[in-house]
Amino acid sequence: MSTPAVLRKKQASMPADQAMAQTGSGLVIGLTTVAIFIALGEIVPRSGLVSRVVMPTGGDVVTAFWRLVTGGYWLSHLRATMTAVGIAWVIGAVLGLFLGIAMGVSAFTRKVVNPYVIAFQALPKIVLAPLFIGWLGFGAPSKVAIAVVICFFPVWVDTMIGLSLPTEREYTFLRALRASRWQVFRMLQLPSALPLIMVGLKHAVLLAFTGVLVAEILAASAGGLGVLAESYAGQLLMPLTFAVILVVVFIAVSLVAILDRLEHRIVFWSEAGRARTSIAAIKKEGKGR
């Protein structure tokens, strides 16, 4: 499962002073590039290299953004999109967790289903969109369905992989205590899987967002930010199109930030702690009995 870089946890192992120095210079570099981009965004459209109609300046976009958010009518679109994302994410998460657990606790089911998982993983899922539009029409249900299909997959796979993470030694330890199947699941497998499940859930929220926006652009009926962007672009109102994109960026970044905070709360034991135990396990297993 490839995971976008933003979803990965930061390495906590870096020495504090080094980390400080890096964030310090990182901030300077970041601010400089932002300044350069803003400057280019003002200069290039004004220079006549590209038409200002197609490529508005930063100032145009900010003005349009202000017009958009003070306009009021965008709120219903925002609500439509976010409701669909929320519903799709919850359904996708529940479905993914359910399938992941069903498959994660049984090696047999895993083997049976694995070929389908691989096939489905390779499939560009958006190709299923016409199917759902055909089945469910141009309304919100097809939008949600498309997003669910796109977003449940990482939750499913990450849950499944996560549940298979515990080592033989960990199982043996609980077996020596005569732990029941359910206790092994609750006390070992589920906590072991949680860090990966959290990554899957984070991944899923962005995929649900993507799914909803694509569905809105494809079947522009039920309203939403995708519908809005598409209709603005169709009227060559590029500053407003960019303004919608800006809104999408804000929402996506905030969603990831919120889930990051949640992740640190829920799976507080670090990657470092996990890695350390598994290194010890590898050393032991190399020796054999």
């Binding site: 030694r169 960990e170 043996t172 330890f173 609980l174 077996r175 020596a176 205590l177 005569r178 732990a179 206790q183 006390m187 070992l188 906590p191 949680l194 799976v267 507080f268 034991w269 670090s270 470092a272 702690g273 996990r274 350390r276 135990t277 010890a280 396990a281 050393k283 032991k284 020796k287 054999g288 009995r289």
Partner: protein, 257 residues
Amino acid sequence: MQEVTKAVLVEAHGVSKQFQSGTSKVVALENMDLEIREGELVALLGPSGCGKSTLLNIIGGLLTPSSGVVKVAGETLTGPRRDIGMMFQTPVMFPWRTTLENVLVPVDVFGWSRKDYRERALELLEMVDIQGFADSYPWQLSGGMQQRAALCRVLICDPKLLLLDEPFGALDEFTREAMDLELLSLWNRTAKTIAFVTHNINEAVFMSDRVAVMSSRPGRLVGMLDVPLPRPREIEIMRTREFADLAFTARAMLGNQ
């Protein structure tokens, strides 16, 4: 000193174990007889591949012997027993549980009340000198501290028999020695029966009442070595003539295969 009149706690008769690896059979253990009496501290000594861990896992009920019988407290063994505590070379510590919560894992598994055992867990942690780390997470602990916590966890449910598989083998020499001494003083106080696996001759002689010397491929009992050294033992005992003789005998038995 342990008296011969003590009751037999573990009885292994003609225990063999074969593992199937591909098409070939590996005989890990062949026709092994062993008796461990109550309150005894017995070492299983041998080179790697002599089946000493296999034997320990069989006594712990984690492996079934291919043939032979193991009786614990007079009952034929059919699986893991809750009055047997097992400890492995590298401790299994759950990173999402604090040290105290890790010590309480058996209590959770047995469905006992955590409240009733919290006090005892803290006492045990104090006994091995890591009470200050009760609320720390395992990854914040050194290997030695983790192993101490694992020892507390074995003791929390007060088992009759402790089976330790190279318990301090992954630790450095100094820490291992310190842990050995701690285990000895603990054994003195609690009068538990302990069987432990080691490939270190000095450790085996220093710790035990008796040493089961084993040979490899197939794993077999070469002989039992009685260690009549006085107790309590200090590290200095390793400098005595008697200790050197015993260690030499054990070495000779290992070499005579």
